[in-house]
Symmetry: C2
Subunit: 906 residues, 2 copies
């Protein structure tokens, strides 16, 4: 509690808060204060702090109101003074908005109430004062509706339940024979208010509050309450926002975009949020309130003329129609546009980042309602950071820190294969709301999306428009297609935040929710049919269109080069094939941190020899089968070592339990029996003898090599003879041989002896010597605990954080689903430890192993090769404990490189 | 290397060595030296040190002979001087024995050569000098045979292969029409020597060495080699003797027990090795060499008259026959007996422990060949220690340290149920060679014993006599029955060492190895038939006789009382039933360290309710089923708390995966479906949904309680309401509630809250408050690593070393069999970490958890409740790291108590 001050006022170029008080005032509140300070016109108001939100939940509503009462009254008077109007005074009424505003942006997740301060007498005063009774009663009916929904709990409870207010509106419209809300006249609006209040009384048993202060307290508490609503909690979980942050509440004088044709409301971006281009853009609606833009009910117009022309082209609208029905603000309100453009430039220059702004024009006067650093796609993020760097606005370190590593994922998303795309049928165009390519099966409802996704299907969610209730479904879908809504509609904003492909406002699609079909240009598709979306162009394709990987070029490549300048941690890749190795190398990997050999055994002849080896009863039998595998393995290693020429390639010896290689179905067993000339019963007996209660803790890893050293001999020969061949051909192979699943130093020593002996014999045969290293995977807790001993002979450590996490927690990754959701819900775990490295437990073991290993061998290279190697938090941890490298899947290499650079800078 | 001195001489009351040089001279060598020093007549000789054995394996035979040569020559001359005879001199030949002797006794495991120094000319001289050509040639043929076997590799290689020398003897005996070896005359013995040498030449291509020094070097090296023979390695593994200890070699002047009727040889014990009674006893044979006693070929006679009378009674031999054919030494050689008795008392007084001695009488003169602390049964161990303590020979600490904890196991072995025994048919009597009761199926061969045992069958091994080759089989058997051999036969000595029941020398049994049958008194039993043995009485019963548990009384009880005086570590028990709790309490457990609740759910009504709970879809459904379980659980806890009244009872909440409780067979599923009124398909679907890839790492432990808190509520109510009822009845229940499988502090905190809330509600309902503690099991590595956090709320720690070992090593206990044998063979592991706590890895985590836990909560009680709680080494480790208690199965409580006392004394 900062001096027990809970309320901060702003207005008329002055403010008690500032941009650096974001944690206390929330992003919106801090920026409203800051905008005042830099001369941007903002309706006066005040912010109740985020700390008060926590107090609210800790001490309850009544205590809080009594604590806040004096400060809020003072602040209301502050607004009244600046606006020359009085709260609840019918002759000169002040209306206010009440909005949430957390430290991090959570668009659409919490509640807002507009036009607060109206009642049956004040509305009459407003009508008289503005000379616009229709505006006054439309404002009143919106207020009652919104207040009823948010504060009085009138929201529909189930999907089937029709929203009660919407039902009344539809009934009234039907009676009067009108189609659109804005066709309703004053009397009809008046009767809506009466009907709304009756319905509220009927449902809640309470009268609608007429006292403006009572209304205000109800709204403030409702905004606090909305911090704990389900969708806010879900969003926080997805974005990793702690519940303790709380939300601030912003109360501001209302300004009206719906006071006639000299009024408007809109949102705009200082640069393109999808591509990052330095082009001012946005959308607005004449004679509308802000909610109308975001909700996507009316088709918004473009702010700039250039934007308007592009939009019309995409929509297939003629210039004639565009200019008359959808003119840009630049054309329709040139002076206001000029001020808006000037101020957006000032804001971007002030914040040194792309801004996302909301504004309202009331009767020819421009007001800014909000500015914030704009959400953007990964592509835009990189381009904007590099543009700002080139323009000297920010320095290199800032440019690097500005980029969120996990968002690079979007740039690595596949794009459509050009050939496949050229052959695919384009059904329609929508807005390129969030880039990327996506294919999947059509679903229409969020819960279906979630369920189908959980069943392993890829789905495209098709909606008329989306709402916060659709969040989980959108998260589960590959892409989202909406019939209505612009680039700033709910669907577009959320999809960009998720880095998910989205095409919005595709007006040509007709959705029939009841029959679960969508008709596009005469083609009727039903639930489960395939559809493909290009979120970068807005194209919608029929069927499944083939995709291909992205490339590292342009700004992205420059960013990566910049990383090198600051990074200490080297990034390698996990790759089992020359193809993967090549991709990773193109993304900047400087070696292979984990080359698994087990996948190499599954092709036709190989799996036969492998099975023969497994089912052999004697060492001689196994050796005979292994001899057949040797040339295949050599060939595999030849390709991988060649594609990583000059870089280290860390090959892990055979790791999985042998059970995984044998056939478990009768047909497969019969084939095997025939091939091996023994009975199928004998095959079954041997297959059964390999089955284990807990294969994760069973006969695998170096336990295989130590029971069947001949496997290690074969693999060593394959690796080193491939390397020798390459060396003879003039390449520079750098093989590393890794012994997996060490728990006891003797396990390592035994296997190392086998490897060294095999190497010496091979070198003698070939007449060539070759440097190679023998290291181990630290993935068993006991190995970490005895790392000082293991480092006596092991030349490097590679942390297998998947297994280490399994054993340190005692979790089977395959079985965790039965309790992980509950654990995340109850906050027993804050994240899935398989996604983000558990620094406290698993990390402690890693730190211990590094320290102990280096106490024996000071220059011991240590790396990480679990999937955590591509997780930004985990990479930073690896940097801090002094690891030499991280290794991750090819598509995570850029993410790891950026994370490593950021760790070094921070 | 001690001054590079490798050879230590002794003889005629002087010795370079002494008893405290056991590590260097081996037990036999040190005691031979010591006996000289205290005036016990010992044939002169010398000892080659154990360190030389290691040199031998490190540097090879030739180097060693050259290094030893001077010292050995000097030592040979030393013997020659004292004996007035010369090695290799036909006119006055010195013969020597060459024997092994390691730091720890390894009876019969290594090789011995007697009568060394004979060749074709020396034998003539010996015949002349002794005037006994038969003796000379019998000695010669024994020497050639023994040397051929041991040094020249003439042992049979397979079970089917007949020993070549035995074959020759049988052939000659058949030709001459004689039955026993000692019926062969001088010429026949001479021809045996010739035939033996021919066979050696034929098989090995080499002539038998005639030079006594060459013979000596061959014998010395062969003894060293025998340190590495298979059965010695197996024995060392069983007894935990390190290979690095090596064996010494003892070369001694031969004395002959086979020089006629004034000569004899025997073994004796200063007390009874089976019962511990302070009664001098032993066996001897007139006109025989020592090997004849041990091999059990001739029936030996008793040393004392009392012993002889008992023996005759057991064998059903009349006094007339006994006195004439089997007189005791006390009767047959009264002067020698008097000297023997005097010297055995001197030896026991000197060593302050029961002695196991070998002696030879040569032509009326008594020589001691060996003394050592006698192997004994657990019963004898306790009785002897307590007797010596009462007699003031040793002090309390020595008495406690004298007892090997694991040998107490024998005292806890079941005995036959008196009723069952009285009804069983006694087939015959043998010698009570090693006490205990055993029942099982008959097998005749060692490898069958091993295989049947591995298949889970209990076997009784029935042999004419046993040999070192039978060791593994004896180890696998429940008991051993032999037709031949006395109380000091191979079978008897080895069985006592193993603490295994043995009846030896049951002359009435006739074994037919070929048809795998045994005929006893007209009853023919075949392989696989049941047989029961009483090793304490020598009785052999037909069929399976029921057994009952042992009791803690007499000396055993006194020993346990003595433990209390020195112990710091408290011993609790693992018990799930009032019955087990009562047994453990009778053995001195002062609380329950682990009360598992899962076994309580398996009885009829309980398992039904449990399954109903598991298959319920809703919390309400689960609560309904749990309400049915509550009274059963309460009743169980009532019984256990009552039987441990006044002592803490640590109840672990439900731990195993739910999968273990549901039926997996169609019939069981059908019954369940009928009972629950749902389809069998639905039952199957739910059962399948519970199956896991790695159940050990799955949904179990507190993960259950955290997903289904209603289970924790029910169990808490059951425990505490049982305790409240007892309190109301005037008892002093001390319940502890343990949350299992904690890995994250939040898991504990959530469950603790449920427990505390439930308790408060229950106390309010009952109007009674009760003190109880809530603690946790530390069995996940992460819990040990974050123990400081967990101790914030946990009131005690209990280390679950089974799971902690599983996860620290990454071993599944159920699957370890596939590689553990290889790991033990290759010395990757020195012991099974589930048998003996791995101090280095798992122990490190325990130590860390204790330190960290106590850094938060200085008085944190810490205990161990894995099966390691009953392993002596592990108990000592627990003492050293400051644990508060160990908990083990009821029958291991005395072992843990003794180990704890020893740890405190050491």
């Amino acid at each position: 509690m900062r001096d027990n001050k809970r309320v901060y006022t702003f207005g008329n170029g002055l403010a008690e808060g500032a941009a650096d008080m974001r944690n206390l005032l929330g992003g919106k509140g801090a920026n409203l204060a800051e905008m005042n300070r830099i001369g941007v016109p903002v309706p006066p108001g005040f912010t109740i702090t985020t700390e008060t939100c926590n107090e609210y939940f800790a001490r309850g509503k009544d205590t809080l109101i009594s604590l806040l009462s004096d400060e809020v009254m003072r602040a209301v008077h502050h607004i009244e003074g600046l606006m020359g109007a009085t709260f609840g005074d019918p002759s000169n009424p002040l209306l206010v908005s009440v909005r949430s505003g957390a430290r991090a942006s959570m668009p659409g997740m919490m509640d807002t109430i507009l036009n607060l301060g109206l009642n049956d007498t004040v509305v009459e005063g407003l009508a008289k004062k503005t000379g616009n009774p229709r505006f006054a009663y439309d404002s009143y009916r919106r207020f009652v509706q919104m207040y009823g929904d948010v504060v009085l709990g009138m929201k529909p409870e189930t999907k089937e339940d029709i929203a009660p207010f919407e039902e009344i509106i539809d009934r009234v419209k039907a009676q009067r024979g009108v189609r659109l809300d804005n066709e309703l006249n004053v009397d009809e609006l008046k009767s809506l208010v009466v009907l709304f209040k009756q319905e509220i009384k009927r449902r809640t048993g309470k009268d609608f509050p007429t006292d403006p202060m009572e209304q205000l307290w109800g709204a403030i508490c409702a905004v606090f309450d909305s911090w704990m609503n389900e969708r806010a909690i879900l969003y926080r979980k997805m974005e990793g926002i702690p519940a303790e942050w709380g939300t601030a509440v912003n109360v501001q004088a209302m300004v009206f975009g719906n006071m006639g044709d000299t009024s408007a409301t809109g949102v705009c971006f200082s640069r393109n949020a999808g591509t990052g281009e330095n082009v001012f853009n946005g959308e607005y609606l004449v004679n509308a309130q802000g909610e109308d833009v975001v909700a996507g009910i009316r088709t918004p117009q473009q702010i700039t003329k250039a934007g308007s022309l592009d939009w019309a082209h995409q929509q297939g609208i003629s210039e004639e129609v565009r200019a008359s029905l959808y003119p840009s603000m630049e054309e329709a309100m040139p002076e206001i546009y000029a001020e808006l453009d000037m101020l957006q430039q000032r804001l971007e220059a002030h914040y040194k980042d792309m801004q996302d702004m909301e504004f309202t024009v009331q009767d020819g006067k421009l007001w800014f309602l909000q500015t914030r650093n704009g959400k953007r796609t990964g592509t835009a993020m990189v381009k904007i950071a590099m543009d700002l760097l080139r323009d000297g606005v920010i320095d290199e370190k800032t440019a690097l820190l500005r980029c969120e590593p996990h968002k690079l994922d979007e740039l690595l998303h596949p794009v459509f294969d050009p050939v496949a795309k050229s052959q695919a049928k384009v059904l329609t165009h929508g807005l390129p709301a969030s880039p990327g390519a996506a294919s999947g099966q059509i679903v229409f409802f969020a819960d279906d999306a979630t369920r189908w996704h959980d069943d392993g299907r890829r789905v495209i969610m098709v909606r008329i428009e989306t709402s916060p209730e659709d969040l989980a479904g959108m998260s589960a879908a590959e892409g989202i297609l909406t019939a209505r809504g612009g680039m700033t509609s709910h669907a577009a904003v959320v999809a960009r935040g998720m880095g998910k492909c989205c095409v919005s406002g595709a007006g040509a699609i007709n959705i029939d929710y009841k029959h679960r079909t969508v008709e596009i240009d005469g083609v009727v598709l039903k639930e489960g049919d395939y559809l493909s979306l290009n979120g970068s162009t807005g194209e919608v394709y029929q069927g499944l269109v083939k995709t291909q990987p992205a490339e590292l070029t342009g700004d992205f490549a420059e960013l990566m080069t910049l990383c090198e300048k600051y990074t200490k941690l080297v990034v390698r890749t996990n790759a089992d094939t020359p193809h993967d190795a090549a991709i990773a190398r193109s993304f900047g990997a400087v070696g292979i941190g984990l080359c698994r050999t087990e996948h190499m055994f599954f092709e036709n002849e190989k799996i036969k020899a492998m099975r023969e080896m497994i089912l052999a009863d004697t060492k001689e039998g196994r050796e005979k089968a292994l001899a057949k595998l040797l040339p295949y393995q050599k060939q595999d290693f030849y390709g991988i070592l060649k594609s990583m020429d000059g870089c280290p390639v860390n090959v892990r010896l055979l790791d999985p339990p042998l059970h995984e290689f044998v056939p478990h179905d009768l047909a497969g067993q019969q084939i095997m029996a025939d091939e091996m000339g023994i009975s199928v019963q004998e095959i079954q007996r041997r297959v059964n003898s390999l089955s284990e209660h807990n294969p994760m803790l069973g006969h695998r890893g170096c336990r295989l090599g130590n029971t069947y050293p001949e496997i290690t001999v074969m693999q060593t020969r394959a690796i080193l003879s491939a390397a020798i061949q390459l060396k003879k051909e003039g390449y520079d192979p750098q093989p590393e041989i890794m012994i997996p699943l060490i728990g006891i130093v003797n396990e390592f020593d035994e296997q190392e002896k086998v490897i060294r002996d095999t190497a010496l014999q091979l070198f003698a045969e070939e007449g060539v010597e070759l440097h190679f290293r023998v290291g181990t995977m630290i993935e068993i807790p006991r190995a970490a605990l005895t790392a000082d001993q293991i480092a006596r002979h092991a030349e490097y450590f590679s942390f297998g954080t998947n297994d280490l996490t399994q054993m340190t927690f005692g979790y089977s990754r395959d079985d965790i689903a039965s309790f992980l959701p509950v654990y995340l819900d109850k906050k027993i775990l804050s994240v899935d430890p398989f996604q983000e490295l558990d620094q406290e437990g698993v990390g402690q073991l890693i730190r211990m192993a590094v320290e102990r290993g280096r106490s024996t061998r000071p220059d011991l290279p240590c790396g990480i090769c679990g999937e955590h190697g591509g997780d930004p938090h985990s990479v930073k941890f690896c940097h801090h404990i002094g690891l030499s490298y991280v290794s991750c899947s090819p598509f995570r290499v850029p993410i790891a490189r950026l994370s490593a650079a950021q760790a070094a800078i921070e």
